[in-house]
């Protein structure tokens, strides 16, 4: 499902993965001092437009991924209402004996929306980035030691298999007459075979990698080089414009 979007030939997919990641981290940093609800709302809207317009992701799929996150975001609101740092003055209504203040609702929405902004930027990255390119870019641009890069790549390859194995181990237990139980003992029954299998596989994979001549040197030729290109320049421009627009809009209209 993800792969289909990650391999699309759209603008966001062509931007250097490390650059996109830097963008995500920047956004998180920028959002830290913001406590009004409108700025994150505005930024969130723009981000969704970006993902759909420049990444070719369908709005339904995006919604599907964000939906469970809404619950998480909502928790910020109600906790802010019930346990605020200081209660606001504009009381809207009371739930039982507890007054609900407009200021607290605003802060709650702001914090919830902030979580959603983080999530949307994460999705912007995840949905438009091919894992192999990501790994190569980390090695080539961020100087990640190849051992770690290719090691992670190897593990990534096995992910679908782990999920399948978890399923198979469950069935095996049922075939052998071990009912479903709860608790740490049961967790251990799944965890141990899964981990033991993973460790054995990892050892064999590492040995196979070395037997193919992989020594983790940094100076290796690359068949696929991730170069800086004009898409990266465009992305930087776009990103800065986005920040400026959000800043101006916020200063002009949102925070009075």
């Amino acid at each position: 499902m993800l792969e289909q979007y990650q391999k699309k030939n759209r603008f966001l997919q062509k931007v250097n993965p490390s650059l996109k990641l830097a963008g995500v981290l920047m956004i998180i940093a920028v959002m830290v001092p913001v406590f009004d609800p409108w700025t994150p709302l505005f930024l969130f809207g723009l981000t969704v437009l970006l993902i759909i317009g420049l990444g070719g992701v369908s709005i339904r799929f995006l919604g599907l991924l964000l939906l469970p996150f809404l619950v998480f975001a909502f928790s910020f609101l109600w906790i802010q209402v019930v346990f605020p740092d200081e209660r606001g003055e504009t009381i809207l209504f009371s739930i039982g004996s507890m007054p609900v203040a407009l200021e607290n609702v605003y802060t709650g929405i702001s914090l919830g929306m902030r979580a959603l902004v983080f999530a949307s930027w994460s999705l912007l990255f995840v949905l438009t980035t091919d894992p192999t390119r990501f790994m190569l870019s980390l090695i080539q641009q961020c100087k990640l030691p190849p051992r770690f890069g290719y090691g992670m790549m190897a593990a990534y390859r096995f992910l679908p298999m782990f999920r399948e194995e978890l399923q198979q181990i469950r069935t095996a237990h049922r075939i052998r007459g071990l009912g479903e139980k709860r608790g740490l003992k049961q967790f251990k029954r799944y965890f141990i075979p899964l981990m033991a299998g993973a460790i054995r596989k990892a050892e064999r994979t590492a040995i196979a990698m070395e037997s193919k001549g992989f020594d983790g040197r940094r100076s290796r030729p690359f068949y696929q080089r991730i170069h800086w290109n004009r898409y990266d320049a465009c992305f930087i421009g776009l990103f800065l414009t986005l920040l400026v627009v959000v800043y101006i809009v916020r200063a002009q209209w949102l925070v009075s």
Binding site: T132, P160, R174, K201, T205, S211, K212, P221, F222
Partner: protein, 558 residues
């Protein structure tokens, strides 16, 4: 001038008392094609690791004695250098890749040895062409079937252009046709580029005459017999059989007939073609025996399984379509077919792990949906392709007795049977070991054995004998036979047609996701055309039976 030389080479894994590879002497010339045979656990895979210097460079096992390849000790090579000398094809096709796609994996190796980009391009094209993977270069490795994975691994090795290739069970899990194709591929490569080949295999019928020398290892260490295939099988056949090492059916038969005085072979035949040529020089022709196998008896009892119009999809990919078959209670049937035909998938459906997307499956006359999952599992024993999934206790012994203990039996009831199992499957010295610490072959045996001790009435086994030596295969099949006689229904997936012929009554043939044949085993092997397009081959022993008949009618040797 010897190229690979080992003197008293021995390897002991950390924290083990007995060496995994007992002292061994080897002497191999450049360009030779060697077949290494040996019982399971005799240290063959360990030898491969030592030859490339992975032991002790990467694996901290203790190595004693000397080994040299092309005049230097492998452990002195740099990592990137080692793979130019020796390339290893590992036993497990899944764990020798680290990238996502076929192309990326081939390139990974070439980047490691520092090829310039232009040359990478050329070699990539070349190895894809040799292995016939041009159409698949961008496919994910995890979506390939067993045979294609094997080919991808070969392409990666060829791109490294090593001088010597060590191939550790290159055909395990492959269907008979792919087995032959892949072995032939290796022989062609070796001949064209003068490479040295070391096959490590339990079985290798089809290209035996291309092998220069067979080296058979002994379990206790050292070499049991060594020489060109014709000589070794003539000279040491009983010794090999006694160690549980595979010997070609055709050589066994040939020697038996010679001992009976029916024929004297100028040259021991290694395959049917040679047998035929030799016989025709003696003026013997094959007698066609009309096999009159009784048709499958019509039963009026309710079949244990009855499927009609089953289909199955993985996401959007259809794997099974319109599958119809019946399995009667008490039957011993084989499920055969090419790699990727959908056998394991069908087995999963039968044992209740997957549900069919369409169609009906009746269990004892009742639709599968109406059964509780737990009841299906209580009726159906299933041996997974990966043995590790099945282990749920801490020692081999507990694992074996688990079924009995669950059934509420006390130690006095299963004590003798336990000892018998441990002896039969050669797990006696591992009885206190943790199941995860066993070797591949030992794990496989244990996982099968555990299923034999619980009392489900239907047993489904997914390739229970792969990677096993002859002794263990026989032990296992004999137990299955006994269980069958006791009334269990058995469905076994296998690529080994000798087993199908020898043990099973009925055959289900899956071809591209649908049942192409359902009926008696004997008549199955007579449908030559069908066998051909389904990538299956009739076992040698069937042909041999007809020749035996001809020889028996011979009055005296010529």
């Amino acid at each position: 001038m010897s190229y690979i030389q080992a003197k008293e080479l021995s390897v002991t894994y950390p924290m083990e008392e007995i060496p995994a590879l007992p002292p061994l002497n080897l002497d191999i010339r450049k360009g030779e094609k060697i077949l290494i045979l040996g019982p399971s656990g005799s240290g063959k895979s360990t030898l491969a690791l030592a030859l490339q210097g992975l032991i002790p460079r990467t694996i901290e096992a203790e190595k004693t004695g000397n080994v040299s390849v092309d005049g230097t000790a492998p452990e002195n090579w740099a990592i990137a250098e080692a793979c130019r000398h020796i390339g290893i094809l590992f036993q497990d096709p899944d764990t020798q890749f680290c990238m996502e796609t076929v192309e990326d994996e081939i390139i990974f190796g070439m980047e490691n040895i520092g090829l310039p980009v232009g040359e990478m391009e050329e070699r990539l094209k070349e190895v894809l062409k040799i292995t016939g993977l041009e159409q698949r270069r961008l496919e994910r490795l995890s979506s390939l079937s067993g045979g294609l994975k094997q080919k991808a691994a070969i392409a990666c090795l060829l791109a490294l252009d090593s001088d010597t290739y060590v191939l550790d069970e290159p055909t395990a899990n492959l269907d008979p046709q792919s087995t032959e194709d892949i072995l032939q591929l290796w022989i062609d490569i070796a001949d064209r580029q003068n490479k040295t080949l070391l096959f490590i295999e339990h079985k290798m019928e089809s290209i035996l005459e291309e092998i220069d020398r067979v080296i058979a290892l002994r379990k206790e260490g050292g070499i049991l017999a060594e020489g060109p295939p014709r000589e070794i099988f003539r000279r040491s056949l009983p010794a090999l059989e006694e160690q549980g090492v595979w010997v070609p059916e055709i050589c066994r038969e040939a020697l038996v007939r010679e001992a009976e005085g029916k024929i004297t072979w100028d040259q021991l035949p290694l395959n049917l073609k040679e047998w035929e040529a030799e016989c025709s020089r003696h003026g013997i022709v094959k007698t066609r025996i009309e096999n009159k196998t009784p048709a499958r008896p019509a039963m009026d009892t309710i079949p244990i399984l009855e499927a009609s119009g089953l289909s199955f999809f993985y996401d959007k990919k259809q794997v099974l379509r319109d599958v119809c078959f019946t399995l009667q209670a008490g039957e011993f049937a084989a499920l055969v077919g090419a790699n990727g035909a959908g056998k394991s998938t069908l087995a999963h459906i039968i044992s209740g792990i997957h549900s069919p997307s369409n169609g009906t499956l009746l269990r004892k006359g009742k639709p599968s949906e109406t059964w509780q999952p737990d009841d299906i599992m209580k009726q159906t024993g299933f041996v997974f392709q990966n043995p590790e999934h099945q282990f749920i206790t801490d020692t081999v012994e507990e694992e074996l007795t688990y079924g009995w203990r669950m059934a509420g039996m006390g130690p006095e009831e299963w004590k003798t049977e336990l000892e018998e199992m441990l002896d039969l499957f050669q797990l006696q010295e591992k009885r206190k070991a943790n199941p995860f610490s066993l070797s591949q072959g030992q794990k496989r045996r244990l996982s099968v054995a555990t299923m034999l001790t619980s009392d489900q009435e239907l047993l489904v086994l997914d390739e229970p004998t792969f990677g096993q030596d002859e002794a263990n295969t026989n032990a296992l099949m004999n137990i299955l036979k006994r269980l069958h006689r006791q009334g269990k229904t058995i469905l076994m997936i296998t690529h080994d047609m000798e087993l199908v012929d020898q043990y099973t009554e009925n055959v289900l043939l899956l071809d591209q996701g649908t049942i192409a044949y359902e009926g008696r085993t004997a008549s199955f092997f007579e449908q030559t055309a069908m066998l051909h397009w389904a990538s299956v081959q009739a076992p040698v022993s069937r042909e041999l039976r007809q020749w035996r008949f001809a020889l028996e009618r011979q009055e005296a040797p010529c």
